[in-house]
Amino acid sequence: MMRVPGDRLERPLRIVFPIWVAGSVGLVLFPVYLLLMVSVAPGGALFGERPALFVSEPTLQFWRRVIGQGDLWAPLMKSLFVASTTTVLAVVIAVPAAYVVSRLRSRWRYGIVIALLVTRMFPEFAIGVSVATRFAALGLVDTSMGLVLAHLIGALPFIAWILVGTFEGVPRDIEEAASIDGASRLRILTRIVVPIALPGIAVAALFVWLYSWNEFLYARLLTTSANTLPLQVFQAIDRGSRQQMATVAAVLIVPILVVVYFLQRHLRPGALAGAVKG
């Protein structure tokens, strides 16, 4: 690096910088640490003016209680079922459509991509108030299927939007070559294009799974008793002890930490900024 005479900041920066990086990382991770720590804290440690920041004698009693109580399994199963079904259906519906859009002329393609993006920005309440009243009339409240249908509202524009980009990356030459060899268009899509795009489809599917796993608003609108995990966390916030709330929340984030670990390689700056709803 070229030295500039007036650049007196250079040397102190080199010393302060690592501390600064460690500090930023610490601050970003602190809430997650806090959650996991509280979930294993013994009851007394959190009371008083200065709740403990470290647990010297971790206890699993709250984990045992939350798991043993049995009101964890039904929400866990519902969340797993809804997230997985939503993901499968979203892929099945969005893949063919996104493929067609990716092969349109650029003006049309651009227009549709923007339309998908805008659809994703609509406030859920503007859709949900009507959907919830209709679903109530159809007996879809408290059912997993009703929630899957609602989650697809948010998931479809989002996954289709990602997949258009993915399919644009699949070269057309391959399709033309296969077509000359006599392959039908459906065969080209299922045997050539989809396998090539599979890594991209997998990443998009993981995002959908995460969205459904975390989703709260539609779940709240469409549930009276059969909670999903996020609703169970809310219930624990409302009625439970701190440790109980932290434990249920930890159950919810553990699979996510795993998924994010697998996703991180695909999160290049710019590529997915804005892809995930805040």
């Binding site: 070229m2 500039v4 005479p5 007036g6 900041l9 920066l13 910088f17 690592p18 600064w20 990086v21 990382v25 970003v28 991770l29 809430p31 997650v32 806090l34 959650l35 509280v38 959190l46 003016e49 200065r50 709740p51 969005a94 063919p96 459509a97 493929y99 993006l117 805008v118 659809t119 920005m121 609509f122 406030p123 309440f125 503007a126 859709i127 108030v129 009507s130 209709r134 697809l152 899509l189 975390n214 609108l221 996020p230 809310f234 916030i237 932290a246 929340a249 919810l252 984030i253 930490l257 994010v260 670990y261 991180q264 999160l267 700056p269 710019g270 804005g274 892809a275 709803k277 805040g278």
Partner: protein, 309 residues
């Protein structure tokens, strides 16, 4: 005329036959969006224009009720305050974090991965954590006690720290906790946008500036910031769209004292109020606010010919 109509019909039919493969593939998605997004929005609009008692349509009764409601005015004001605070926090912290991660240092890949973690944490969980931090017996007050201890070691200083519960205090304090929770949750996204911007600045510009003797601070204010401006615009609009929709965090952290639009709509909709009409009208207002942001986004950020995001 009839012949023209017939030939147009025939042309349409030929087009459909020729494109039947494409049409069949697009139909499920198009149908879904039409049936479960477009239609419900129109239906919400219809509900909002229906008079609850008489069933008259169209009627502006529900909007009149909103306009006369102090609670709605408060929710609207609180939403704008939360959006503004949250955006300000995100821009400053996100830019700081992006600048940090842009440098070269050991374990940079690992650090960048770790910084993405909040993105995966469900909003409701980040609300739960902030409750631990900001409640009366929470960690922020605990920090206050520790600081007071330190300060009291100084000779001649006596300061008694008075704790407060941020989440139920009401006013800006409660809204601030919502903004902080929102900031933490979306920090990775804002940071990724700024990182993309930083990486788009050509290295030659910095080299040239160095040759001309510009200091680090000058290079930052004269090169980095101006070139980052489009990304700031993008981050602000995208995040504003999300922030207007804020619901879970407000429900958990401020629901009982300071409603925002999201919680206001929920409280209208849910029992015991069960006022679908009021909820629908407020939803339409929220929709309008967000549409303004979307139009801004399309004009400022998503310029034709270049698909950004």
């Amino acid at each position: 005329m009839p012949r023209g109509g017939v030939s147009a019909l025939a042309a349409a039919r030929r087009w459909v036959v020729a494109q039947r493969f494409e049409i069949a593939l697009v139909c499920p998605l198009a149908g879904y969006v039409l049936l479960l997004t477009a239609l419900p929005i129109l239906d919400t609009l219809r509900i909002s224009l229906t008079a609850p008692a008489s069933g008259d349509f169209p009627s502006l009764v529900n909007y009149g009720a909103l306009a006369g409601s102090d609670l709605f005015g408060q929710a609207l004001r609180n939403t704008v305050i939360v959006v503004a605070m949250s955006l300000a926090l995100e821009l400053v912290v996100g830019l700081g974090l992006a600048l940090t991660l842009h440098g070269r240092f050991p374990f940079r890949g690992l650090v960048r991965t770790i910084v993405l973690v909040p993105m995966g944490v469900p909003t409701i969980v980040s609300g739960a954590v902030m409750l631990l931090v900001f409640s009366r017996a929470g960690y922020l007050n605990s920090l206050g006690y520790h600081v007071a201890d330190l300060v009291n070691h100084l000779p001649g200083v006596e300061w008694r720290f008075a704790p407060f519960s941020w989440t139920v205090a009401g006013g800006w304090r409660t809204l601030f906790t919502v903004a902080v929770a929102d900031m933490w949750k979306v920090l990775p996204i804002v940071t990724l946008i700024f990182l993309a911007g930083l990486q788009a600045v050509p290295e030659e510009l910095y080299d040239a500036a160095r040759v001309d003797g510009a200091t680090r601070w000058q290079r930052f204010t004269r090169i980095t910031l101006p070139l980052l401006l489009p990304y700031v615009t993008m981050a602000v609009i995208l995040r504003a769209i999300d922030a207007f929709r804020i619901f879970e965090l407000a429900l958990v952290l401020s629901g009982r004292v300071e409603p925002v639009l999201g919680t206001f709509i929920w409280n209208r909709y849910a029992p015991p109020t069960s006022d679908v009409f009021g909820a629908a009208a407020a939803s339409v207002v929220l929709f309008g606010l967000i549409m303004v942001c979307i139009v801004l986004y399309l004009r400022r950020v998503a310029m034709p010919g270049e698909v950004r995001l």
